[in-house]
């Protein structure tokens, strides 16, 4: 079974600083996608960024970027210039050809003014 592990239940960062959220996963598949979702207090699940496993280049979306290490099965999310609106739960997720979309337990991020 595929598992996704987020080892940091909670994190905090000062506004305008940079923070990195960790995620590791376990799989025997070679072709898969990885995602980071954000869940603000409104509870809506919002896609932050996605990474295709066959791409070596790390994905970037504005202030959000990932460090994808396929051999190490690691997929961390870096948030630069943190803003108060980034306060939310962040979920790492794995989606394989033969594996449904599964999530880690989440990291609660607080951005402090």
């Amino acid at each position: 079974a595929q598992t996704v592990t987020q080892s940091q239940p909670e994190m905090s960062v000062q506004e305008a600083e940079t923070v990195t959220l960790s995620c590791t996963y376990d799989t025997s598949e070679n072709n898969y996608y990885l995602f980071w979702y954000k869940q603000p207090p409104s509870r809506q699940m919002i896609l932050v960024i996605r990474q295709e496993a066959y791409k070596q280049q790390n994905a970037t979306e504005n202030r959000f970027s990932v460090n994808f290490q396929k051999a190490a099965k690691s997929f961390s999310l870096k948030i630069s210039d943190s803003q108060l609106g980034d306060t939310a739960m962040y979920f790492c997720a794995f989606f394989g050809v033969s594996t449904p979309l599964v999530f880690g337990k989440g990291t609660r991020l607080s951005v402090i003014a």
Partner: protein, 113 residues
């Protein structure tokens, strides 16, 4: 504006009653997921469908839960009889196919008293 629609948004029911949650996936999406979110367990995959066929419902308590897709525009999750431990937020999500972004509904907050 394509979105996944879930009804109802909130449901309070008494223990032993039947609960039906509905989901309208985005038109053209062939993969539908049901998740349950609790503080303790995070986002648990209950069931998922591809082209209306159930592929995996191993995460679902079979004695009381059932999930169906009567047609491509409707997915249902039923609990009969409901119990207080079923209290949670239930999310439906859909994606175009495997390995692509899943779009989430706003969830149904279920409270069983």
């Amino acid at each position: 504006d394509a979105r996944v629609t879930q009804t109802p948004r909130h449901k309070v029911t008494e223990m032993g009653q039947e609960v039906t949650m509905r989901c309208q996936p985005i038109l053209g999406h062939n993969t539908v997921f049901w998740y349950r979110q609790t503080m303790m367990q995070g986002l648990e995959l209950l069931a998922y469908f591809r082209n209306r066929a159930p592929l995996d419902d191993s995460g679902m308590p079979k004695d009381r839960f059932s999930a169906e897709m009567p047609d491509a525009t409707l997915a249902t999750l039923k609990i009969q009889p409901s119990e207080p431990r079923d209290s949670a937020v239930y999310f439906c999500a859909s994606s175009v196919t495997v390995n692509t972004e899943a779009f989430f509904g706003q969830g149904t907050r279920l409270t069983v008293v």
